[in-house]
């Protein structure tokens, strides 16, 4: 079963971490990537540039209008996206659990082009 793991974090929180703590968290992430690569569960990772580089496009008066940044008020922004292929939801949640320090992690199944007639 394929899932994406969406990691949301607050850049201000990250920026305020002591150097050793940030390194530790990065090491946890990298170790997990190594583990998932070794087990054949890892498919892809997308690391997103700082939210300062984001542009949001939405219709205003029927015309696409561009504004800076991601959606207005939220302090937590999408920081990276992992694509994994695992046995099931329990395993996906176990992986997400490792990523939770200083982040909120969302797990979503990916749609499949295959299906069964009913």
């Amino acid at each position: 079963m394929k899932y994406v793991v969406l990691i949301y974090s607050n850049p201000a929180t990250w920026g305020a971490l002591p150097a050793g703590e940030a390194d530790r968290v990065i090491r946890v992430h990298n170790d997990l990537i190594d583990e998932l690569t070794g087990s054949g569960e890892f498919l892809n990772i997308y690391r997103l540039a700082h939210a300062d580089n984001a542009r949001t496009v939405a219709l205003r008066d029927g015309v696409p209008a561009v504004t800076d940044g991601p959606f207005g008020e939220s302090k937590e922004v999408l920081a990276s996206l992992w694509e994994i292929d695992v046995e099931g939801l329990d395993r996906a949640l176990e992986i997400a659990g490792v990523l939770t320090p200083y982040a909120t992690v969302e797990v979503r199944p990916l749609m499949d082009a295959a299906g069964m007639e009913m």
């Binding site: 070794g38 054949g40 569960e41 892809n44 082009a113 295959a114 069964m116």
Partner: protein
């Protein structure tokens, strides 16, 4: 068929025999499996151009054995360097075998390989990947394409699977008699998993996956040839044939799903149906009954109805009652409820479905909502049906299923 196609078929057939011969000679399943894969790739490049050698099996065994010796030598050299152990005489003495020197045991080898690749220490995904490569003779790239994952991921999965088998202490030998029935059950599960993976994908953008049904049927046929008395082996082969026979009618050219009741039955594969029906009929008459035989018998009753309204539902109901006693599961109950609704009316089916709500194992599963919606529609409750079609559409992770379920809900708009 093209030359390349013939070569590919031949290689797939020879793959398990060559691997078996190699493992019996050298031990070390993991290294042998790599060596055979390399020999197969070499053959896939050379044979279509230079022609198939006179003794293709002997050719593959020789080439794979050479790779194996190279690997073993390299490994020994590395160890010598590391441990500075006195040099040993390399035990090469690798004589090219007679063309078909190992042939008498080729059948047993294929069976032993199947048991090994479907080792219970492996996850189902690993069992499937290893079986397709080592027994099916598919390349890592082909297996990766079939499961829509990068080749590196699949290579890692296969290599990890071989390590796991090694760590579990498994040897290249048939399982002990007392484990055999359980191990055979796992092999059948793995073949059925491969079949379903391909069957679900038989349209749209992933036709590569659809080839898995052909591969699963080929392997089931081979297993049936090796174990002609295995009632469940025959049952699984029949079930695959009878299900796959409907493949041309189960989707429209745009990839949308057609439910069984609305399929154009003139497009079903009559030859596959005849073969499947004959197989399941003969098996039910002589072997102890099992779940695959019962599912095949149910598929046969569906396939034998010229029109959906001719379906012998009372017969299907009896078969589901048997199946529910023999191998109870929430999915069986789900299908049983449909049969019950067709014989005794939708309310009877809905009552049986209600037992699944307390069971919990299917709670929140889109199939439970989909079946409930269907039965509510039959019972004349369009509002309730619409609500459950919508819930099923939200819960499924399949695009064509979602489209179908949305469509059903849309037709019931007031």
């Amino acid at each position: 068929m093209s030359g390349a196609g013939r070569v590919e078929d031949l290689l797939r057939e020879l793959a398990p025999q060559v691997l078996g011969a190699l493992v019996r000679r050298h031990g070390q399943f993991d290294l042998c499996e790599d060596a055979v894969q390399e020999a197969m790739l070499a053959a896939a490049v050379q044979w279509p151009r230079a022609g198939v050698p006179e003794h293709p099996r002997g050719w593959l065994v020789t080439v794979a054995s050479r790779r194996m010796t190279d690997q073993v030598r390299a490994e020994r050299a590395r160890r010598r360097r590391e441990e500075t152990v006195a040099a040993r005489t390399p035990a090469d003495a690798l004589v090219a075998p007679g063309p078909d020197a190992d042939l008498p045991s080729a059948a047993d080898d294929t069976l032993t390989l199947l048991f090994l690749c479907c080792h219970p220490a492996l996850s189902p995904a690993s069992q499937v990947a290893l079986t397709l490569r080592a027994v099916g003779g598919l390349t890592t790239a082909e297996v990766a394409a079939a499961f829509l994952v990068p080749e590196a991921t699949m290579a890692q999965r296969i290599s990890r699977a071989k390590q796991t088998i090694k760590a579990a202490g498994a040897r290249f030998a048939p399982p002990p008699v007392e484990e055999r029935a359980d191990r055979l059950r796992v092999v059948l599960q793995v073949l059925y998993l491969i079949f379903n993976e391909g069957y679900a994908a038989s349209s749209g953008p992933d036709l590569q996956r659809a080839e898995l049904t052909t591969e699963a049927i080929r392997l089931a046929r081979e297993l049936h040839r090796l174990l002609p008395d295995g009632g469940e082996v025959a049952g699984l082969l029949a079930l695959m044939l009878l299900t796959d026979a409907r493949r041309p009618a189960r989707t429209l050219p745009d990839g949308s799903l057609v439910p069984l009741a609305s399929q154009d039955r003139s497009r079903w594969d009559a030859a596959a149906i005849a073969e499947g029906v004959a197989l399941v009929t003969a098996t039910l008459a002589r072997a102890p009954i099992g779940p695959y035989q019962l599912q095949a018998a149910i598929a046969a009753v569906h396939d034998e109805a010229a029109r959906a309204e001719d379906t012998d539902w009372p017969q299907i109901l009896v078969l589901y009652e048997l199946l529910e006693r023999l191998a109870p599961s929430p999915v069986v109950t789900l299908n049983h409820a449909v049969a019950l609704a067709m014989v005794r009316g939708p309310r009877a089916g809905l009552d049986l479905l209600a037992t699944l709500d307390d069971d919990g194992r299917l709670a929140g599963h889109h199939r439970l909502d989909a079946v409930r919606a269907h039965l509510l529609e039959l019972a004349g409750d369009p509002a309730g049906a619409r609500e459950h079609y919508r819930a099923a559409a939200r819960r499924t992770t399949s695009l064509p299923e979602q489209r179908y379920l949305e469509g059903r809900a849309g037709r019931l708009e007031p």
